[in-house]
Amino acid sequence: MMERWNAWPSWARWMSITAVGVFILATVQLVGSDTEQLTSVTTAQAMLRWCVPILLAGLGGLFAERAGVVNIGLEGMMILGTWFGAYGAFNFGPWWGIAFGLFGGALGGLIHAIATVSFGVDHIVSGVAINILFGPGGATRYLSDQIFSTYEGGAITQSPRVDRVGSFTMPFLAGGNIGSWESPDLLGWLDDQGWFYISDIAGLTKGLMAQISLFTLLALALVPISGWVLWRTRFGLRLRIAGEDPVAGETLGVNIYRHKYAGVIISGALAGLAGAFIVIELTGIYREGQTNGRGFIGLAALIFGNYRPGGILAGSLLFAYPDGISLRDLDGSATHALLAVIAVVLTGVFIFSLVRQKRTDAAIALAFALGAAIWYGVTDEAPTWLPNIMPFVFVLLVLVFNSQRLRMPKASGMVYRKGET
């Protein structure tokens, strides 16, 4: 059974997992709770928006890891992106903000590359140093003090407000305009019908197609683009050899240093883009500490997605989902319902593990499933902090059940020195 499943193309695997997931969400929503947030349009929209920074950071991590450099400095590079993004967006407009964010992150990437590639500093050490240098209260605060404080509406820890880029709605499916004519809204109509499962899927899908920021579209486009670059181009192949077996690459005349540099700088640029997105699209302002560990969650999405772009997208959507529902969930009922969903999913893992005779896995899954179920049963609403920790808990659970199957690039994290075998 597992062999046949693994033989499926990865998009088909992710699609079917998603279909099953939505089915569980719809079922829980129907029988177990009084919320409609689990599969609503607004949930999907919020999820999509909040997933972008995680996605971009994850893709950033991908380029570094594939080139053999572990990048836990993503958080710091993302913070650089927020600051530069805000600077560019305020002074020259949102599109320039995007460009500045890219540049700021790339700068962080360059520092990481110099330390790890040229000087052979341990990757984790360099990453931690970068996070300290650019983290909250760090170099960016000095910059804010020097620059944002002098702007009207700015201060030592925040910038003035900045504008967003435009948005886009899919015609026919989600009712977008063609010229000035408003096309029909098929998914919206389906969502309004209240049909079990079909309306749920329609609601979530419409959320992914209506009033989508162009910046979001750009980010989503980067998923297939990253895959194409890494697996279909010469540059990508050479970058991957740097992460799998740099000495083999060296013997074939590949310039490993150059490709590692490229990978880490792209990594920083994407993290910077993630920061710019937070400023330009999510909050409309630079505020110190606003990345809130999303660089690390991006790293988590990278691991969850097994170092592949499609997997990273799936991971970011999953990690952003609790954010998505909590935004409109004032009474905590949707988050509460999510506990039931978790219980159901873990029960599934429990049964699956039993079938595969992995007793420890089964026991752990059962324990957590019971915990979630009991929590769901004895309370009426979930605390507001629960969505905040869910991405972290998801990652730990995924690692607990799946760490053997994950495949990181073979030479990732190792210091490479030319001419040494």
Binding site: R232, T233, R234, F235, L237, R238, R240, I241, E244, D245, V247, A248, G249, E250, T251, L252, G253, V254, N255, R407, P409, K410, G419, T421
Partner: protein, 508 residues
């Protein structure tokens, strides 16, 4: 012999390469004629590999001149060498496990379409042409990790041919092969030569060299000492050229082996992570004062058997007895303290703390006992004094016992390991490839040490890929094939060729 009127394929004049404190190549002169198979022989550490790396652009020479087809060249990276039609098959395969065969082959010379996109279709077509010419039977879309050793070597050769190399450098290509596979490789090499390729190949197995080479150049201590015609020299002559004197060979002085078992294995089976047996139902008894050799192609369970005895294997069933005690459930520390000495096959990976000083390395594995420890404390003075003793008695050449293990040559590192294990008065010594990759002097010293310990009643399990070493040292040799013991032979009347037949399963 190849015709010599065209300019030589490769000519080296006065190549010198220094590393800190070592002259690896000292005024090397070499002329390789177009279309010949030219062998370079020399003992470990003679500078063969360094020379090949210089030829392939992986390291620049400090002095000297290189000419390819009569033109002077200066390589700053392998890319430059490739551009001149030079290709290299490395001793350790340079293949990325997680990439496909095709990706590995085209890397660095990818057929390209617009936007840097790789033209996989063109690559596949090109590969098929080479495949049919050479008879490589692997799916280009397979991941390299699924291939076996022989297949990997063929992928390596294809990789070189794909780049249109006309000058092939093969660095110890036979090291990983058994005699039967070697013959196939030689057949392929002759085919390539027919097609007009020039082959430069490194080896230290003299019979092989005499069988295949058109010309032989001997390196000794970084210098080219002679270039000879294989038809006019014998293996003995070559050996003398290599070492400058008679080649030492291991020989056990025959003494009586006692009948007291020191180590007894009964029905030992080891499972790997996928729960497949990698060692199956192995029973073996080693007596006091006896050396039992284990022969086998690498990857046939010898490593895992050693792991099982030392106590680091995953899942082990069966009985393992040390003296009269069943140690099967003991953790590693108790086994080591109980008298199992261990010389691991990869000293850098399992034998040493490379960045720690020698005296700490001497304590490793024995840090619970005097003279290294007193109660829960490390006895620094005792440990240092004892290390001085080891350094003196086992002739470890080092500036001091505070020097990092990293700074020592392979031979001296190995002498330190042998010293620390033998001075801890073990009951059983597990020696895995004890002379791999060390110079002749150290090799002889290690053999002497093992032989002396045997005389003192030590039971030894010797694993080696060097069949001469096995035959010379062992009292008894067992052969492992696919995780089982398939034969037991008397070293007094077995030849390396016979052993090879057992090792490949051909004689079963």
């Amino acid at each position: 012999m190849a015709p010599t009127d065209s300019p030589p394929a490769i000519e080296l004049r006065g190549i010198t390469k220094r590393f800190p404190g070592v002259v690896a190549n000292d005024d090397v002169n070499l002329t390789v004629a177009e279309g010949e198979i030219h062998a370079i022989v020399g003992e470990n550490g003679a500078g063969k590999s360094t020379l090949m790396k210089i030829l392939y652009g992986m390291q620049p020479p400090d002095e000297g001149e290189m000419l390819v087809k009569g033109e002077p060249v200066r390589f700053s990276s392998p890319g430059d060498a490739i551009a001149r039609g030079i290709g290299m098959v490395h001793q350790h395969f340079m293949l990325a496990d997680n990439l496909t065969v095709l990706e590995n082959i085209i890397l660095g010379d990818e057929p390209r379409r617009r936007f840097g996109r790789i033209d996989f279709r063109a690559a596949r077509t090109q590969l098929e042409v080479l495949n049919s010419a050479y008879g490589l039977d692997v799916d280009p879309n397979d991941l390299v990790e699924t291939l076996e050793v022989g297949e990997r070597q063929r992928v390596e050769i294809i990789k070189v041919l794909y780049r249109g190399a006309r000058i092939l450098i093969l660095d110890e290509p036979t090291a990983v092969l058994v005699p039967q596979e070697v013959e196939e490789l030689f057949r392929n090499m002759r085919e390539l030569k027919e097609d007009g390729a020039t082959i430069l190949f490194i080896d230290h197995k003299l019979e092989e060299v005499l069988a295949i080479a058109d010309t032989i150049t001997v390196l000794r201590q970084g210098k080219t000492v002679a270039t000879v015609d294989p038809n006019t020299v014998s293996a003995g002559d070559l050996a003398e050229l290599m070492v400058g004197s008679e080649l030492p060979s291991p020989e056990t002085a025959s003494t009586e082996v006692s009948t007291t078992p020191a180590l007894r294995l009964e029905g030992v089976t080891v499972l790997d992570l996928d729960e497949r047996p990698v060692v199956e139902d192995v029973s073996l008894t080693v007596h006091e004062g006896e050396i039992v050799g284990i022969a086998g192609v690498e990857g046939n369970g010898q490593g895992e058997l050693v792991d099982a005895i030392v106590g680091v294997a995953e899942t082990v069933t069966g009985t393992i007895e040390l003296g009269n005690e069943d140690i099967g459930t003991w953790p590693v520390r108790r086994r080591r303290d109980g008298g199992i000495g261990y010389v691991p096959q990869d000293r850098h990976r399992e034998g040493l703390l490379l960045t720690a000083p020698l005296w700490e390395n001497a304590a490793l594995g024995h840090q619970t006992k005097a003279p290294y420890a007193r109660g829960p404390w490390i006895d620094r003075k005792g440990a240092r004094n004892h290390t001085e003793t080891i350094v003196d008695d086992f002739d470890v050449r080092t500036p001091s016992i505070d020097t990092c293990a990293l700074a020592l040559s392979g031979g001296n590192q190995q002498k330190l390991i042998i010293g620390r294990e033998l001075t801890a008065s073990p009951k059983v010594l597990i020696a895995a490839h004890p002379t791999r990759g060390i110079d002749v002097g150290a090799q002889a010293a290690v053999w002497d040490d093992i032989r002396r310990a045997r005389g003192d009643g030590l039971a030894t399990v010797l694993i080696s890929a060097d069949l001469d070493e096995l035959i010379g040292l062992s009292d008894r040799i067992v052969v492992m094939f696919r995780g089982r013991i398939v034969a037991e032979v008397d070293p007094a009347d077995v030849t390396p060729r016979d052993l090879g037949a057992y090792m490949t399963g051909a004689a079963l």
